[in-house]
Amino acid sequence: MNLPFVFRLAWRESRAARRRLGLLVGSVAAGVAALVAINGFTDNLRTSVGAQAKALLGADLNISGRKPFPERIESWADSMLAADSAGGGAKARVTAFAAMAFVPRTTGVRLVQVRAVGPGYPFYGEITTSPADRWRALGEGGKVLVDPTLLPALGAEIGDTLSLGNSRFVIDATVNNIPGDVGVASAFGPRIFIADRDLAATGLVQFGSRVDYDLYLKLGDPAKAQGIAQKYSLPFRDLRYRVRTVEDDRQDLTDTLTRLGNYLGLVALVALLLGGLGVASATHLFIRQKLPTIAVLRCLGATAAQVFLAYLAQALAMGLLGSLVGAGLGVAIQQVLPRLVADLLPVDVTIAASPMALIVGISLGIWVAAVFALLPLLGVRRISPLATLRRTDEPAPGRRDPLTWLAFGLLAASVVGLAAVQVRNLEDGLYFAGGVGAVVLVLWLASLGLIKGLRRYFPTKLPYLWRQGLANLYRPANQTGTVILALGFGAFLLATLFLVQYNLLREFRVGGALGGRPNLMFFDIQKSQVAGVETILAEGGHPGTAPVPIVAMRIHSLKGALVRPPGTAIDTTEDEGDTAPPDSTRASGSGQGGPRRPGGWAVRREYRSTYRDTLTDSETLVSGEWWTGPRGDGPGRVSLDRDVADELQVVVGDDIVWDVQGALIPTRVASLREIDWGRFQTNFYAVFEPGLLEQAPQMAVVLARADSAADRGRLQRQIAERYPNVSAFDLSQVQQAIEGVLDKATLAVRFLALFSLAAGTIVLIGAVTTARLQRLREGVLLKTLGATQRQVLRILVTEYVALGVAAALVAIVLSSGAGWALAKFVFEARFDLPVVSLSGLTALLIGLTLVVGLWSSAEVLKRPPLEILRGE
């Protein structure tokens, strides 16, 4: 085989291809950079979660629920800590709920998430404050620590008085960092921390208000946590408390973040595949240019295999170089990524180059370069030495080369394989490859259609220069397919992301902008306070809607079957525990095998239901009948949300017995409703007919509308002052919060999608540059025949604008389809096309194509005709 010759040839032949080298290196580098960055970052995340696992939970063991801890849990915890031979155990309580914070000095008011923390919490990790070291001082009482975002929202400063329920606190410091906490969570309600001992005085934790109770345990021997959790999680679950350990948290978080990172990597993979496309297209045109050289080599006695190997070696070398450059770039980007997603992460990420991510990124880069170069390189074997005697521009077509099919197969398998490895899931790898394949196919068909259509229905009436430019789209050696594919894919990704985000947010925007729709919600109103709240609203000139009663309840039995057994006794004996076997009558088991049982979530959850005699405009009856007339004898009538009914496996006519604070209310399902949850109003899974729940303990919700932010602030303030337990939701704040969170959540995806656009641009540059010689020849001939520079420029502009328009149109049509499907089937949102923004994207693509095209063709304009003719 004479390999030394092969390598020498590969090396020498690469000399004059510096420009191509740069492009191929760039093609590969963009994708590898994105891949190394995201995979390296995911790796860092995993490591950081592992390192900070204890601080995430703040304790060895956590028990949480929606009710105050009964005595037996408290005593169980105490006796367990006492029985711990290692000693050093401790417990701490945290109580969390929503309430209105009010600063009298500035009259600022805001819905906040209150956390009342007991001494000792957190046992692990450190909460940092500014001014520093104020956390431990919280226990002194009378102080409050707040999220930094709350101060500007209230117009307050450290040292101000903040009123919460019936109590007043001094704002002592802001909390900068809470281990295990996700930054964006504060957008929905800034957190404030008070001492556990100050809680009762606020009067905010009343019957019926929504409160989360947490008990944190520090064990003398942390290693025992997992065993304890395993032993008691079932009995605790029956009492409706959840037990978590550091290991649970670490596992959950690692799994979630790793999966997230892996799937984000798919976006990077798209960039790499586009780079592969660039490699393929550049190689194809390169081989066309090298045709005479290859023919001479064959003439001089080089075998097909030798020539093929020489160029393959070149492709591999460029793949390696591109991968190395990309890896370096990736490590640099890895430093930036945490800043984009910091608010979404519960841990501080320590950034370090990840050897695994580097190895994987570099290997994938080389592999993709080789696999994509393979197809055009196979043509090398068919170049006949006869071409030295007779000029041809194409490799001899010959019979269909069986190796071509093999190369195609390898390519397809590679895409599936790469995706499957990236997400560690073959099925998803297949879906990804299928999706990429479908998009490529559609883009390819579109470009083919454009070429065919243009040739067939060529606008012969257009001025000559336009015709010349348009004709370049279908002439031999045109770049139409490559450019539409390369630019179209990146644009498709970005446009789809944008469309989904736009349509999700639109639901809220429309709700907020529509005249007359409520934009303020007051909740947790006691029955005795309803009239007072209504009066304040009416006097302020913003009358509220009719109060909607809310009754908290759980399901007692479904179709005659009990869904929850009485709480199981808890024993602290370590061995031979009496974790009672699961009750066989219980329907909530998440048991595998056997007939499907009603879903645990729908069965066990707390329902907040209402009663009324009419449907609202966000509800549609889908089955059964709405009640009319007075309540008869027998079970009361209830109407369920269709999805919940599915979960519970009940249909119209089935019986459900509800447990309302101990009182059992028998009902029969009278109808099922479909609910449009996108509206800002009260919606309920279960609606009861009037006459059943009037006497039950209940809270009320009142909606109102005020157009100016000042009015909304004033109403909230007045009600917060008068009724501290009543909380208010300001739709515009919620809307801002959701926009902010969505924006942050999609930032990383958009950032990575930019790489596919970057890769697409490099491919575009490659396509334009490689076809440059042809353009040069044409332009010079035109100039020789008397065309002015302006005219040649007009031809080029027409060509590149047409290409940009074509790529943008195809991408937008395709992304509209994908966006519509996502909105309809995944997010269940209405779909609308933002024409203005999409026009912006189109303009961007046209501009990009034009700039790249003209920049690469500058030579056509500058070079004097003679110089090029002589060089021929």
Partner: protein, 231 residues
């Protein structure tokens, strides 16, 4: 006629080449038969489209004939695969083309080295020596684009002779050169032919060049119309 053992370098028998063109069969070469002795010097002449270049391509094994056979130094080209013929070319055949066909990314010396390297032989010294022979010893590091047409053809000649070929095929070697430069190329070729006994087969329009050959075959419409041997 002599056998290959004692002197036949190249022979062809009933060589015919036809192409399908616009549904009609076009005969480019019609039943050509001749043989050439080792160390011979053959010029193939004829007007454009007479089949000269097609004949050269077939004789050198660059293409397969529609009918007939070619035997090159005892090897029947028709029974060999493309790669086997490539192997044979690298061992025994040199080429010179009208448009030089130097590899633009290689320097003059590297171009000359290619045939030697293909055979896995030490190349540098010999390439340098050959370049000196064609008067370009001091231009060995220049790229083809830095050389004039005549210089390029001289490099091509050095490349053609670098692996000491048994036979050299030349396609209009002076076609792109002025008379003087062309003359010097021809002198070089005939000189090397005499020195190492390389068989020369060249296709040309150039009467003066053809006149230097010891044998001349004239083609017209794919047929041999004249076959003259000068003694």
């Amino acid at each position: 006629m002599t056998s290959s053992a004692n002197g036949t370098m190249l022979s062809c028998e009933g060589l015919t080449q036809t192409y399908l063109s616009g549904g009609r069969r076009l005969t480019v070469l019609n039943n050509i038969t001749f043989s050439l002795e080792r160390g011979g010097f053959l010029a193939i002449v004829g007007p454009s489209g007479s089949g000269k270049t097609t004949l050269l391509g077939l004789l050198a094994g660059l293409d397969r004939p529609s009918a007939g056979r070619v035997v090159l130094d005892g090897h029947d080209l028709g029974s060999m695969t493309e790669d086997e013929r490539a192997e044979l070319r690298s061992q025994k055949v040199g080429f010179v083309f009208q448009s030089f066909h130097l590899i633009p990314t290689l320097t003059a010396r590297e171009n000359v080295q290619v045939p030697l390297e293909l055979r896995g032989e030490p190349a540098e010294e010999r390439a340098q020596e050959l370049l000196a022979r064609v008067g370009l010893g001091d231009r060995s590091h220049h790229y083809p684009s830095q050389l004039s047409g005549g210089e390029q053809q001289r490099v091509a000649l050095a490349r053609a002779f670098s692996a000491r070929p048994q036979i050299l095929f030349a396609d209009e070697p002076t076609g792109n050169l002025d008379a003087k430069t062309g003359g010097s190329i021809v002198d070089l070729m005939t000189g090397l032919n005499r020195e190492i006994g390389t068989t020369l087969v060249l296709v040309t329009h150039d009467r003066d060049l053809a006149a230097k050959a010891r044998r001349m075959i004239r083609l017209a419409d794919g047929n041999v119309v004249e076959d003259i041997t000068h003694s």
